[in-house]
């Protein structure tokens, strides 16, 4: 083996060990619920827990709506900036990065002050309103990932020429976005969507402070009071995330191919 290859493999092995050993240890611990033998009891308890089902279902629904809000907000914005206002791109990029800098707790306290029952927009006055506010909050948290994913997708196509080609053949803006732009950045949108899904499923701060029955607070609650179930939930969360990433990879195979870059 060449020395350069040896070091490459060693680095890879160390990195893999750093990542996999805690995961394997967590998985191994999650199987120890039954004294003296390995079992999936912890998983059985978790999946059988009504609160798990309810919170997971709630977070999944919220995640789906968050994705819709994100797509409706980000795709036309990123498209328009690429097409007509490239000069303000740095400003928009900075704005989309803000959720990474400003802690979620600051955002949610801002929401509570701004959208309380006495405000002109009393989102927090009703349960449904709070759900909507939570979705908007999640869309904000996912903005850095969604915007970058869509912007990267738009970079792979000639937005301006495709737009002009569609326009000159009679298409209006809705047709252009729905029939030409969106299908060509679908994989990028899906990448952003699955990242959004992963963020929403695990998010604790906003759901907890807005007092909504989401999966994040449930995870925290179980982690604080049980021994083996949190380990099982951690493995389940990993499986969900990896599942999402696998779906992105599979869908990427069906992406419309550019004529200049068929692979």
């Amino acid at each position: 083996m060449k020395p350069s290859r040896f070091w490459a493999w060693l680095t890879f092995a160390l990195g893999a060990a750093y990542f996999f050993i805690p995961l394997i240890a967590t998985f191994e611990f999650s199987l120890r619920m039954r004294r003296g033998e390995y079992s999936f009891d912890a998983y059985r308890v978790v999946f059988g827990d009504v609160r798990f089902q309810e919170t997971f279902a709630y977070s999944t629904i919220i995640a789906c709506f968050t994705i819709v809000i994100g797509v409706l907000l980000v795709v036309p914005t990123a498209y328009w900036i690429r097409l007509r206002m490239p000069q303000i791109r740095p400003v928009v990029e900075f704005i989309t990065l803000l959720p990474l800098i400003i802690p979620a707790i600051v955002i949610v306290f801002g929401y509570i002050r701004m959208y309380g029952s006495n405000s002109p927009l009393p989102f927090l006055a009703t349960t449904r309103g709070t759900d909507v506010l939570l979705m908007i909050g999640y869309a904000t948290l996912a903005l850095p990932y969604m915007y970058r994913a869509v912007d990267t997708g738009l970079r792979t196509i000639d937005v301006r020429t495709l737009t002009e080609a569609a326009q000159v053949h009679g298409a209006g803006w809705t047709t252009i976005i729905v029939r030409i732009i969106l299908p060509n950045v679908l994989i990028a949108v899906l990448s952003g969507a699955f990242l959004t899904f992963a963020i929403v499923i695990g998010e604790f701060t906003m759901a907890s402070l807005l007092n909504r029955p989401a999966f994040g607070p449930y995870l925290q609650n179980i982690g604080a009071n049980r021994a083996y179930e949190p380990a099982a939930l951690a493995v389940i969360s990993f499986a969900i995330t990896w599942g999402c990433m696998s779906v992105i990879q599979v869908l990427a195979r069906f992406a419309p191919k550019s004529a200049n870059n068929p692979n």
């Binding site: 196509i157 326009q167 053949h169 009679g170 047709t175 030409i180 299908p183 004529a259």
Partner: protein
Amino acid sequence: MSETFLSIQGVRKAFGQTTVVKDFNLEVARGEFVSFLGPSGCGKTTMLRMVAGFEEPTAGRIMIGGKDVTNLKPNQRNIGMVFQAYALFPNLTVSQNIGFGLKVAGASKAEITDRVKEMLSIIKLEGFGDRYPYQLSGGQQQRVALARALAPKPKILLLDEPLSALDAKVRISLREEIRAIQKKLDITTIFVTHDQEEALSMSDRIVVMYDGKAEQVGTPFEIYNRPSTKFVANFVGTLNVLDGTVVDPATATVRINDRDISLKKGQLNGAKAGDVLSLALRPEAIVLGKQDGRDTNLGGQISDVSFLGSVIRVRVGLGKNAVSLDTFNSPASPPPVVGERTEISFSSDDLLVLH
């Protein structure tokens, strides 16, 4: 010229302080093929984009079929356009690309299927309907782009340097194909190019553009043989420019290398005795040695010989002037030799005074 179909009247376009198209006027007849020819940055693409509706003129108006379209959006003009970068929709098949305009216009499925079939036959790509753009070569993609532009039966076809991304061989065959289709469908066409050979070979008329203005509008024959400005003469074809001093304005006599030559009357355009004029001569108007029917001979020395296959390009120094000329390659006779003394001859009628 028959009935005007496209009329561009006093169009000007400025981006901030920079004016890229200046007082552009053009009348195009129905079914005519007109090329905008010029170097990069001369305003030809901007002018085309204004016809398409992608840019709004700062002044002037554009009429299509007698209707003022200056303020109409691109999707309201019923124009077909082919782009340099093909611009096929990657997510749609060839058939879907061709049928796109018809679908947007709300045509029935049967109508779209029939028209797509017809267009595939015109561009000779039957059997390619289910392929995606990435599965086609550059030439095939551009033919699909042409079919897509023509499928909705547009009033005008705009071609924005459609051949420049293709290799030389495909370019030549495709330009013949485009011209044949354009003639067959009798569609009014504006073609933008910086390639003089394309413009000369395809067009009914050429608009040579420079610095935002139409320098000359004419048939390919007129543009090549009777350039009206120094820029047109230099830009279209290869040109020899000789300095000649006016000897007698009354008889239009000029002196080149101590040889007095009489030009056609009126060519001096008011020049006075002693003025130095630029006289242009195409390489094909000059022959090596003396030849009957050519009234002017000049002595010189061969300074360079380039073998180009079927022709040999010879450069001859004439004192402070120099000219290039082409001779046919003949296996039976040896090529000219650098340093050899020689004579060139040409007809004084072929001399053009550049203004």
